[in-house]
Symmetry: C3
Subunit: 247 residues, 3 copies
């Protein structure tokens, strides 16, 4: 069993290392995997959809610490969730709710006891990492949580017709799952329309297309080019299924 980290802490920044120090302290010897630390910054909705897609690539049994937390230090609740054999620890601000909506089995707890020396701004280190360590070391449920019937904040689990992530190649992932679109659909994104291709080399270099990417999402890409720059796409931009190419 490993601890899988998903956050917007920034892979190159000084936050992730501090989380690793805490996990090493409370869960020594446990493997920690940095799944993503550049989730859409402070963007809970896009991050929730990205997390839901990524989770499907991780075997059951692991413990996720998922933190995108613009409301840290306020009254937002903190949650532990078990869904389809995986456990999640994170803020109860909607981030875990898309995973929840798409899962068959779910159990929820609210974290009710905070460490005495907790900081106001870094609950990833001070609250969620110790709790993830507790889960992975089987000290869970414990006196720091209480069972609750649902998350306090939930987002719809439906597909999200927006750009939710742009990778360093410039590929723009949407919150649409591949199953939502027929292969002959044309997608509108920004001022452009893009047709489907199966792989990058099916279109000429510099041409944009859409395909179902390796985490099951509809992605707008370009062969040997930066699609997001080419089409001026940004996280949050709406996408539409504008036409069936041939019908």
């Amino acid at each position: 069993m490993a601890i899988i980290l998903f956050s917007d802490f920034g892979a190159h920044d000084l936050y992730v290392g501090q989380v690793h120090v805490v996990l090493d302290r409370y869960a020594p010897g446990v493997r920690v995997i940095d799944l993503l630390h550049d989730a859409p910054s402070l963007n809970v909705r896009a991050s929730a959809h990205l997390l839901a897609a990524l989770v499907r690539q991780v075997p059951r049994g692991h413990v996720f610490m998922a933190v995108v937390d613009p409301g840290v230090g306020t009254e937002r609740k903190a949650a532990v969730m078990r869904a389809d054999g995986r456990t999640f620890v994170g803020p109860d601000n909607g981030l875990l709710s898309v995973v929840a909506a798409r899962s068959t089995t779910r159990q929820y707890w609210q974290i009710v006891s905070h460490p005495p020396d907790i900081s106001a701004s870094f609950h990833g280190r001070d609250l969620f990492a110790p709790m993830a360590a507790a889960v992975v070391t089987d000290d869970f449920p414990n006196e720091r949580v209480k069972a609750v019937p649902d998350l306090a904040v939930t987002l719809p689990g439906d597909d999200l017709a927006e750009i939710i992530y742009i990778d360093h190649y410039g590929n723009a992932m949407t919150g649409l799952r591949g199953s939502a679109l027929p292969a002959d659909a044309t997608i509108g994104a920004g001022a452009s329309k893009v047709a489907h291709a199966r792989v990058f080399d099916e279109v000429p270099a510099g041409t944009a297309f859409w395909y179902v990417n390796s985490i099951g999402l509809v992605e707008i890409a370009a062969n040997r080019a930066n699609a997001a720059a080419l089409l001026a796409l940004a996280i949050g931009d709406a996408v539409q299924c504008v036409a069936r190419t041939q019908s």
Copy 2:
């Protein structure tokens, strides 16, 4: 006992991985934690203050390899330091000296024997990583070091009234510890003045404020906005306590 890495090697660059290869060779099975690899580039003073703040977040017993080393390949000395139960390996250029100044117990060694095939430009890999591995595997002190009464280069251990780090959210950390300022102080940074808030959501979105951050430093931030961009702040900019808000 883990090896904790702090450097300006760049988290995404080709240097950190080479350090890990060496540590795996000389300290196999030991956990290595990347605390920060984007310390202020070639900026020893800012990095020294940042290191001193971060160190307090790491339990005693661990071994730090700390390298920000613009003078690599010159006559600068190389040091091992024990301070308050932690061991540090790095260049003797001031980087370790703020930690030293703020510690109660201190011991120093100079590294006097260099590996025969050492490169001129990457002592992190060739000198400091093997020494950190020696410390963590208890092959220390060894014939490669000699005890010395102090570091060769020391910086003042006082608070530093400058921006020392800007994180990827745009939060600008100063070298002032939170204990240095009363909560009703107003801080001048660049052409702006900012008042205190306890957490981000206490001020309107887009408003800058200062608070004591999760590593105990005075930090200039903005609610759901990039403070450094908003106020045009850069590492090295002076900050001042300009007024008490109400007195």
Copy 3:
């Protein structure tokens, strides 16, 4: 024995973590080292030369997963190679061929059986990571490979007189090995000429020079300045040995 990762997946992006999840699944307990994930993006030739230089810094016995793969999803072959005591898994698109050309002993296999649920765009996760895990756990050769006499795609193993990598300090590495140039050579890069220095502090601050870097390559750098910005250098730019300073 560790698994060493070299790719253009982007250290901060969502791909590397997924590879770690697969390696944890198929090679649990094995150390995985991220050597470099920001190899020149989609640039097989520059990456092949950079890989060949880095490999020399890694002890024999380890398993490399090396993936820079613009043709993923096309008919390009997939390879396993043993060269001078190290094993490599990656696309057969030239990436491994510079290592091969500079090695004394070589053995090659083609990966002939693909997992049934393989994605079209992420063979790093779906094809190469499971194969690297097989190698490291001694399940190799197996029924998924067949021995072949050579790689399908080979690049020349000679030095490459181009910029192949620019690090975050702005140092520009060439594909020329240090042994190729006498120390009194002057190098032309872009519109500029740079002379040799042994270490950064041998030249005035802001001055560009060349030296043999810590991985054995001719590198154009500048003392306390960004050489690539100073000389407007980019990956792919040609470099020339224009003169001997004194002869």
